[in-house]
């Protein structure tokens, strides 16, 4: 986020406007960014605008070119629908658990890997494996590992006497969401630990040493020195994990399709099934916009907090 606050050294103005400046004319930057901007306009901005429009209409997938303007009707309907309240709650639980789980496990593992030991480089490379694995493959292997009869997870749980009654974890309204959470966090922790590991390397060793000499306990040293240095990285990761988890689709869709009985239905899953199963494009768009607005509030809010914190520190 700090990019936006960075002030650039002013570009030197050409002394003589007639002569072509060494930086080119004032149109030069636009020439550089025009192709990319056009791309983003066509494939992101225009579709988003259409989606916003759709959210105020009644439109079906069967006849998508005919829309009836209904104002805020879709929004009123979804917010008065109890299953949507459940979807919001599920989304909230999923996002918070992803953030806490991914950032927390990332921090623990980064602290583990931050000390010198032989083979650290290998360990550091190997923990990136889950992050590198394609989501589709992860959904597939997770589904197979959780298979009620032959899956290794159930075989293991049965062996230690903790078998799930009925056997199938992904078919259980109680265990499906935790199973998806574990899979998600398994995929995310390499990213958070690698980012936090590089943040930890910026912690000045002499400060932690000094704290130790002063007789500070480990916890105190961590809070007073380490935490202060890595705090911005933790904040940023929490933000990224929130946004990514709000839009995560394929892992959940392929493992449970939002079921059983809506136990894993997040906003994006709900939006997709409204659009393609119920064929209600307007309603789906409204659900999607709720998610986008939540992300927007989270991003803007965190930028404001970060800015306030920066001012407070100076």
């Amino acid at each position: 986020m700090t990019v936006l606050e960075q002030t650039k050294a002013p570009v030197p103005r050409p002394a003589n406007r007639r002569r072509p400046s060494p930086l080119g004319s004032k149109w030069t930057p636009y020439l550089f960014l025009a192709p990319a901007a056009l791309f983003i306009l066509v494939f992101q901005a225009v579709p988003l605008a259409q989606e916003i429009y759709l959210s105020f209409t009644r439109t079906t997938l069967l006849n998508p070119t005919r829309s009836t303007w209904v104002g805020f009707d879709n929004y009123v309907r979804i917010f008065s629908d109890e299953t949507f309240h459940k979807t919001l709650l599920t989304t909230f639980i999923y996002v918070v658990a992803c953030v806490v789980g991914a950032v927390g496990s990332g921090l623990v593992i980064a602290l583990l890997l931050n000390s010198g030991f032989r083979g650290r480089g290998v360990a550091r490379a190997l923990i990136t494996v889950p992050w590198a694995a394609p989501g589709i493959a992860v959904a597939l292997i997770a589904t197979w590992m959780l298979n009620s009869q032959y899956g290794i997870v159930n075989r293991f749980l049965n062996a230690i006497g903790l078998g799930v009654p009925g056997g199938s974890i992904l078919d259980s309204p109680r265990y499906a969401l935790p199973a998806i959470l574990v899979t998600t966090i398994w995929q995310l922790f390499p990213f958070t630990s690698v980012v936090l590991l590089s943040a930890l390397q910026a912690v000045p060793q002499d400060l932690t040493e000094a704290a130790k000499v002063d007789g500070a306990g480990r916890w105190w040293t961590f809070r007073a020195v380490t935490w202060q240095v890595i705090k911005p990285a933790v904040g940023l990761l929490a933000l990224l994990m929130t946004i990514w988890s709000l839009r995560r689709f394929e892992l959940i869709w392929l493992m449970t399709k939002g079921g059983p009985v809506g136990a894993t239905e997040t906003l994006v899953i709900d939006l997709y099934s409204q659009a393609f199963d119920s064929k209600e494009l307007g309603r789906a768009a409204a659900i999607g916009m709720v998610g986008v607005i939540i992300s927007f509030i989270v991003i803007t809010g965190s930028r404001l907090v970060a800015r306030a914190a920066e001012k407070g520190d100076v």
Partner: protein, 276 residues
């Protein structure tokens, strides 16, 4: 002293447990592919692969459609990499080196695109693609994947160019090089590691992409591997060993590439993440 040693042992054990958890699912993919039916559905789980079953990988490529899927994925990924990095370099350069009207807005737009779910955009993009006859074509997927990965590519490259001293450009400018030439001759070679990192990110963004591919491609022979493999889930006809063999061949390039380019990707991701 003894306490220290116990602490160290515990720490190494903890690292080993984490590593085990990190790689186990992929290991399990290989084991499942290399286990005979009798063992797979037997009373006890087989924890080690049976290499005499290796033929499953050969068969999966030879008989099935997996070879074609992987080829389609490769074409989409290469196209996406070229297009998004090609557009991302000049965009990153403009954001790093020039001050111009709309710059703050452009940076904000790049950040906000990160929160748009593919599943939301798939409906309007479908009608857009129908109009431009891009449905059921790999080119359409290259275009849309490039648009989705372009913001992160541009932000990472902007960060990389920020790190290059401006003085290096001055010399070239004094020699009368036009801005575009300054970019290609001076900056591009210097940010080569970041370009490599963004290329890996773009390649695997497209390699892994599922939602657009499953919605926009109708002809089975044009399917990429992500769609082909996803269709295995919940399907009963194909032996699980074949499924896992195909999934592993789909996963291995991604993992191998990340391990190989890990240093640059991580540096690029963290720079992009920390700054972006």
């Amino acid at each position: 002293m003894r306490g220290l040693r116990i602490g160290l042992t515990a720490r190494i054990l903890a690292v080993l447990v984490v590593l085990g958890l990190a790689v186990f699912p992929l290991y399990w993919m290989v084991v499942t592919a290399l286990t005979s039916n009798a063992d797979l559905f037997g009373e006890d789980a087989q924890l080690l692969p049976d290499f005499s079953e290796f033929g499953v990988f050969v068969d999966a490529l030879a008989e099935g459609k997996a070879g074609g899927w992987l080829l389609n994925s490769l074409l989409i990924a290469v196209g996406t990499t070229i297009l998004s990095v090609g557009l991302g370099i000049p965009l990153g350069y403009a954001l790093s080196r020039f001050s111009f009207r709309g710059k703050a807005v452009m940076t904000l737009v790049l950040l906000f695109t990160q929160m748009l779910p593919e599943a939301l955009m798939v409906v309007p993009l479908f009608s857009l693609f129908r109009r431009f006859e891009l449905l059921d074509s790999l080119i359409g997927l290259v275009l849309v994947n490039s648009a989705f990965v372009l913001p992160i590519v541009a932000l990472i490259l902007k960060g990389a160019i920020d790190g290059i001293p401006r003085e290096l450009e001055e010399a070239a400018r004094v020699d009368g090089a036009r801005p575009f030439k300054v970019l290609t001759r001076v900056n591009v070679p210097l940010i080569a590691p970041s370009i490599a990192a963004t290329a890996v990110i773009a390649f695997f963004h497209a390699w892994n992409e599922y939602v657009f591919a499953v919605t926009f491609i109708f002809t089975p022979s044009k399917q990429p591997a992500s769609v082909g493999i996803a269709n295995f889930i919940g399907e009963l006809g194909t032996p699980i060993q074949t499924i896992m063999a195909v999934a592993f061949m789909f996963t291995l390039p991604a993992v191998a590439f990340y391990l190989f380019a890990q240093k640059y990707v991580v540096a690029g991701m963290t720079a992009g993440a920390v700054k972006g």
